[in-house]
């Protein structure tokens, strides 16, 4: 009786086998497909690698005097938050053109300081000197100070921060 083929119909054994295959396939798909998404999720998520940071109203920036702006930026990757600090010297000319220089020395990434008495950027680590426009005057630095892209919108100066 049990497991016997009914006349002309679908046998019990065949029915159970078929149902097992359907159920098993469904369970495998319900768990398996989300599992693939689960593994790929962080790889497919793109975070912006650049950002425009407002430094403030241009009328507050002194003319012909390199002025340091500092800010820090926090970024979240996964569940981990990291903060990075940035410093930029802004030089505003009389005809409202700007020169934005990163204060990171191109030698070993110390922070350079504008010295009024020397009229140059001095790196305290290895005595590097950079001119007002960022050129290397003396010291071990291989390149001029990094020139940062900027824009002025609604009287506010923005600098373009690009993650390396």
């Amino acid at each position: 009786m049990a497991g016997g083929e009914e006349a002309g119909g679908l046998g019990r054994r065949k029915f159970v086998t078929g149902m097992l295959a359907v159920l098993g396939g469904t369970i495998a798909a319900v768990v398996g497909l989300p599992a693939v998404g689960y593994l790929l999720a962080p790889a497919l998520k793109r975070s912006p690698t650049d950002v425009w940071v407002p430094l403030g109203p241009v009328e507050n920036i002194p003319v012909d005097q390199p002025t340091l702006f500092t800010f820090s930026r926090t970024q979240r990757v996964g569940w981990e938050t990291t903060a990075t600090s940035h410093g930029m010297y802004v030089l505003r000319s009389a005809d409202d053109r700007y020169l934005v220089l990163s204060n990171v020395c191109t030698h070993l990434s110390c922070r350079v300081v504008w010295k009024d008495e020397l009229q140059d950027y001095t790196c305290p680590c290895h005595n590097g000197h950079f001119a007002k426009d960022g050129r290397v005057i003396s010291g071990p630095a291989p390149r001029p100070l990094e020139d940062v892209e900027y824009k002025v919108e609604d009287g506010t100066l923005y600098v373009h921060l690009v993650e390396a």
């Binding site: 989300p34 689960y38 593994l39 790929l40 999720a41 996964g78 569940w79």
Partner: protein
């Protein structure tokens, strides 16, 4: 083509024999209570799979455990599903293990020649409870922390050896990074290895001895 590939493999691996002895074996007339063992095995496999997936993001460190679980739940695609299955599967598995044990007990299925199946089953029950106990700490939230504080304190009430057992479980005086790390290790390595070994023996015996019939009146 499929038939020829199967025949080639069958001659070398004995697939038909394996199938016949493990899945197509003779069983007495039984009822739904006899599916509890298979249900438990299915849940155990699911726990293993979802657990492996959880380790992709989970970090057993006091400062990151909670945040990484939060990340799984809220930011990873289907993370809520994977952890949900693991969470509810754990509870369900304890239930099915217990019902499976009760069925074996009340049908007298532990008797000769199946004593060793029963003994491995007892250890499997303990391993399952151990998995539940160690896994409970891993989210490192308030409930996990205090449940484990209480649980390890209970272990500390054992006469004579209690304080030592408590210190061994905690890896020191109080719950710390050491507790989390050793619970994690027990949860993903020690207990699963024991579980796989015991399940192997348990299933081998089920196949070797067959399952017992439902006791008849007067037996």
């Amino acid at each position: 083509m499929v038939a020829r590939v199967y025949a080639w493999l069958d001659r070398r691996l004995g697939l038909t024999t394996i199938y016949a002895t493990t899945l197509d074996r003779k069983v007495p007339k039984v009822n739904w209570a006899f599916t509890l063992g298979s249900a438990t095995l299915f849940l155990a496999v699911m726990q293993g799979l979802t657990g492996i997936f959880l380790t992709v993001y989970y970090v057993p460190h006091p400062e990151q455990a909670y945040d990484s679980v939060n990340y799984i739940m809220n930011e990873v695609a289907f993370g809520w599903l994977i952890r949900g299955i693991h969470h509810w599967g754990a509870t369900l598995m304890v239930v099915t293990v217990f019902l499976h044990m009760l069925r074996t007990f009340f049908y007298g299925a532990y008797k000769y020649p199946r004593e060793i199946t029963w003994m491995t089953g007892v250890f499997l029950l303990l391993v399952t409870l151990g998995m539940g106990f160690t896994g409970y700490l891993l989210p490192w939230n308030q409930r996990a922390y205090w449940a484990t504080t209480v649980g390890t304190s209970i272990a500390g009430t054992v006469p004579l050896a209690g304080p030592l057992i408590e210190r061994i479980l905690r890896g020191g005086e109080a719950l710390s990074a050491l507790t989390l790390a050793r619970f994690f290790s027990a949860h993903i390595w020690m207990l699963p290895v024991a579980l796989v070994a015991l399940v192997g023996i348990h299933l081998y015996l089920v196949v070797r001895l067959g399952i017992s019939h439902i006791p008849r009146d007067g037996e």
